[in-house]
Symmetry: C2
Subunit: 431 residues, 2 copies
């Protein structure tokens, strides 16, 4: 399907480009033109030869921008939302989450993943970086829903193996254009020295980056120092885990040396402020990452720990918590945060074709409704998005040129009520 969007405001997220009025044309899964409105004559010269729009959409002055990318998620945990909250971290994890997770099978996880996809679409998130238990069933769920996902290995002492991770790496990177797979392990504190060294060797065989939960809590860092005499980032550097890049989820408690390691290896920080707030893990040093030129992406974490899959919340928290941490209302400008939620996350996820709006890029696009009171007046549209924006402003979510959500309605191919019913059945089964 080729779509011509007219009468739009456009925020490409290319650095230095401000919001402007214009048009955007998609052809199949790609953007073929974005810029000032074209006359019919200009269309002939500026669009691919023989281009014909199947549909023209008048945006009525609403905003087109790249979709948000959720750079850290456990989508299959949606059924655990609000199962257990307001508890100390240890009890929450050991008594509430782990026992229930142990009862989830691959089909349940696929269905729970579909529920998260619906929520991502309502919030304008066009891709997620999903570390969870059954990558094959997850990949199938994402493909069935037409959703873009980067799956991440979840290796640890209790489940998965280096061999399985390598098998998934080979298989899921050739599964569907919407799906990629990255090497990953759960965390230093859930993996043996031997296991991590073996994974590092495997990553070297593929010249591939590695991703993991990193320095989320102070006790995790303290434990690693006890075990290895080093912080998690330093230990992982010592076994060559970062030789081909990669990134850390959370990165709340990081030393100066940890940040230097990130800088040295071009690693990505993926911040999860909603989860870090609800679980009282702490506030990540975002200002320092930015000052060092470390790329920062933003993720929601899983729906059991957050519990909301909402990039608007995460964006406000990313700048707001930095301001509280530094006691300075000027740090971590909202425009930098908007960049993190789109381009920064895309870079961390290696979705280099889905970062900005430009000809040749993937048509992973959202339309935000500016005709709502929280977006008025239009003093600064980009800051409005970060400071007063809400899921309620998401009019459209398009992935790979397909409109999957529009004006509160999902793609006709989805059986939404059945996804809700099934989520309820699953939690009622494993409770």
């Amino acid at each position: 399907m080729n779509i011509k969007f007219t009468n739009a405001r456009i925020l490409t997220m290319v650095r230095g480009e401000d919001v402007y009025d214009g048009s955007l044309y998609t052809q199949d899964d790609r953007i073929v033109y974005v810029g000032p409105a074209l006359t019919e004559v200009e269309e002939t010269s500026k669009l691919p030869s023989g281009y014909k729009a199947d549909k023209t959409m008048d945006c009525s002055g609403n905003l087109l921008m790249p979709g948000f990318k959720n750079a850290h998620a456990h989508s299959g945990m949606s059924v655990l939302r609000s199962c257990a909250d307001d508890m100390p971290l240890g009890d929450w994890l050991n008594k509430q989450i782990f026992p229930r997770e142990a009862k989830l099978d691959a089909d349940m996880i696929a269905d729970a993943t579909k529920l998260s996809v619906l929520e991502y679409l309502t919030g304008g998130m066009t891709a997620c970086f999903d570390m969870y238990l059954t990558p094959e069933s997850e990949a199938c769920a994402y493909r069935d829903m037409g959703y873009r996902a980067v799956l991440c290995g979840n290796l640890n002492n209790f489940s998965s193996s280096v061999g399985y991770t390598e098998e998934m790496y080979d298989k899921l990177n050739h599964y569907d254009p919407l799906i990629t797979y990255e090497i990953g392990f759960h965390a230093e504190y859930t993996c043996s020295d031997e296991l991590m060294k073996s994974l590092s060797e495997m990553a070297h065989r593929h010249n591939a980056p590695v991703y993991t939960h990193l320095s989320e809590t102070r006790s995790e860092v303290d434990g690693c120092i006890e075990r290895y005499g080093m912080t998690p980032a330093a230990y992982l550097e010592s076994i060559g885990m970062w030789d081909n890049g990669g990134g850390g989820y959370h990165c709340v408690h990081m030393s100066d040396e940890d940040m230097e390691i990130f800088k040295r290896h071009g690693l990505h920080v993926i911040t999860n402020p909603g989860s870090n707030t609800k679980l009282a893990s702490g506030i990540a040093p975002i200002r320092e990452y930015l000052e060092r030129g470390i790329n920062v992406g933003i993720g929601t974490d899983g729906p059991a720990s957050n519990n909301c899959l909402d990039m608007f919340r995460e964006m406000f928290l990313t700048t707001g918590l930095a301001k509280l941490r530094e006691e300075d209302a000027a740090v971590v400008d909202a425009l930098d945060v908007l960049h993190m939620a789109t381009v920064g996350s895309a870079m961390a996820m290696r979705l280099n074709d889905a970062d900005v709006l430009a000809a040749g890029k993937l048509a992973d696009i959202i339309m935000l409704d500016l005709h709502q009171p929280n977006m008025q007046p239009l003093n600064n549209i980009a800051k409005n998005i970060v400071y007063s924006g809400s899921k309620s402003n998401v009019k459209m979510t398009m992935i790979a040129g397909r409109i999957l959500y529009m004006d509160g309605r999902f793609d006709d191919s989805y059986d939404v009520e059945r996804i809700y019913e099934r989520a309820q059945e699953i939690i009622d089964t494993i409770r």
Copy 2:
């Protein structure tokens, strides 16, 4: 208009009552029945004699609950949204806000207030406690829109006077059933000793509570200690300002003695976590307020400092920031926060008839859409509201029995596009 709501889930916010399935009947501006569904025979016995519903609404299992009350706002500042962000507090206030505010006249403020009302309605807020510059024009704007407001005096050394405050107290408390007026002053640091003593005397004449910005920033507290050798709460107690109760907006930097003063006089804390975050003012000690039995309400503050008028954001921040402050994921339970946003705020605003759903109470009611992915599964509806709820879940906002917002549409009497245009004209005039 009398409305019968059937097939609803109901959360009355009466302490100890959980969500249940049932019906709710309104008659004019009041609730006449809320409880389990009634048969026709039961309707005759349990409803006022001769009751006839003008309209029956099938809620399809969605949730009815009391509207959120915004216990601190400066609604007329909506035109300043995103005019100036990411700046040090002093520069923001002195260089960006004050010079523009000085150019606002009563008509502009009325129009800007209307824009905020639209935003309140989209977010399920059925009343606001508004401290701003031109109470008469504000009252007129609220009345015209059918919106419930408690106006608050804004006395300071530069505008208003004790005489004017008393005049407004008499006048606006007899203006319209939707409007009340409370005595208030801007803050200790913007009022002379003489002025505050004179206001305290006036409050005694009326046996009325007094409200003010209190201990928002550390420098404000330090300044007061320099001036009077006491914290703001203690100084105000010393001049009898709290003799008839009242409350403080913000209350971020409070000593043990300050909290004891609040407890002693039955004062209300009105917390504004969004504003305190964006302006880097600090995190209020909510856990300590709750442990002392001090009532806490929640407000958004003004749209220039927040910039979002969204109780869902404020609720998440109220519990989340407390968790970060105390480094304990168990403190300030979400159910307490939901209580603050409804009953706690209503108490602080003296809206004693608009706190819970019960026969005889005002019909200030919202319907939340549970058929959205962020509300599924229904493990714990009340926690879902606080942790994963969003403005996008607000299906209906009713005030005094009138549906003013439903399914994304405002009351037909509003000229929404004109309100947006006018907001843009105002900021373009005063920029």
